[in-house]
Symmetry: C2
Subunit: 149 residues, 2 copies
DNA sequence: CAGTACTCGTTGCAAATGTGACGATCTATT
DNA sequence: AATAGATCGTCACATTTGCAACGAGTACTG
């Protein structure tokens, strides 16, 4: 009988939580990304920017980054692209002239509304495929994880 | 009383499952990536390649990609880097000379062994912080998701 | 009010990633 | 055997991303 602490316990990548999380997240995101890419030609940063502005109305670029977990430069570039499509407009703030107040144009809002609907459907179908048990578990597991981070 | 089906149900990004999954996965991965980056100067593709080879022993580049969900070119580059560090060796297959059989060198295996240990500890601590309830839920939720994908 | 330190958003540059094509090799069909 | 088609791993190229520095503007400090 031995219990050798130096023995290698092999790591099974497909059981390793960080790997599983990443793979699952990436698969889900790719699926949804396919939708907004094909229908609207949006990138992920652009979609997140659109969604965040749609949700909050008027925000600065920094605030968009905070709410959507994106780096400054990603936001900056996404804002530039969306502005070029006339989906959002900028207005320099009068109180603090470093800041730009961003908001969706009517065209941007229309796209947002449509995509928000699609997003809800996508999520609903995903969750329904998980079954009500799987849904509860996934949500609870995510919530637990988020509480740590 | 009205129930207007055209009404916008706003999308709350921080409640949206694909976003939550991504954010959680990214946060967890970044934490772990910090470890192998600081201690060994490894990138994520390199870590995955090391882990996959450590797990299976001898593999082709294509097989590494299959097992670790990485694109050909990522694997190719990671293999090149690990070979430069003399952490893995290539041997052209005699039966099929397109193929290279890759395996870790003793130095590579040593690094793998250490990192596998660290990975287990990392995961154990993460799960312990989740509590046994959170752990069960997360694992069950992930399993349900994986079954769909 | 000067002077310093900070914040906002953008840009240049470098690193990482994805795409398509390639040479070499193997397999299948005839 | 000869040809056509597929597979393996790599490379050149374009795109995406992250990082550091910047100009413009604000806030703090004496």
């Amino acid at each position: 009988m031995e219990s050798d602490m130096t023995e290698t316990l092999p790591l099974i990548l497909e059981d390793f939580i960080p790997y599983r999380l990443n793979k699952a997240a990436e698969a889900v995101s790719q699926r949804f990304a396919g939708i907004y890419r094909d229908r609207y030609g949006l990138t992920r940063p652009e979609w997140r920017t659109l969604a965040t502005l749609g949700q909050f109305g008027i925000l600065t670029a920094t605030a968009i980054g905070t709410h959507s977990s994106m780096h400054k430069t990603k936001v900056s570039r996404a804002v530039f692209t969306l502005e070029s499509r006339r989906w959002l407009s900028r207005k320099r703030d009068d109180m603090d002239r470093r800041i730009e107040n961003l908001q969706l144009t009517p065209a941007g809002r229309k796209a947002y509304t449509e995509l928000a609907k699609v997003a809800h459907l996508f999520e609903a179908e995903l969750l329904s495929n998980l079954g009500s048990k799987g849904e509860k578990e996934l949500k609870a597991g995510l919530a637990a994880l988020e509480a740590l981070l």
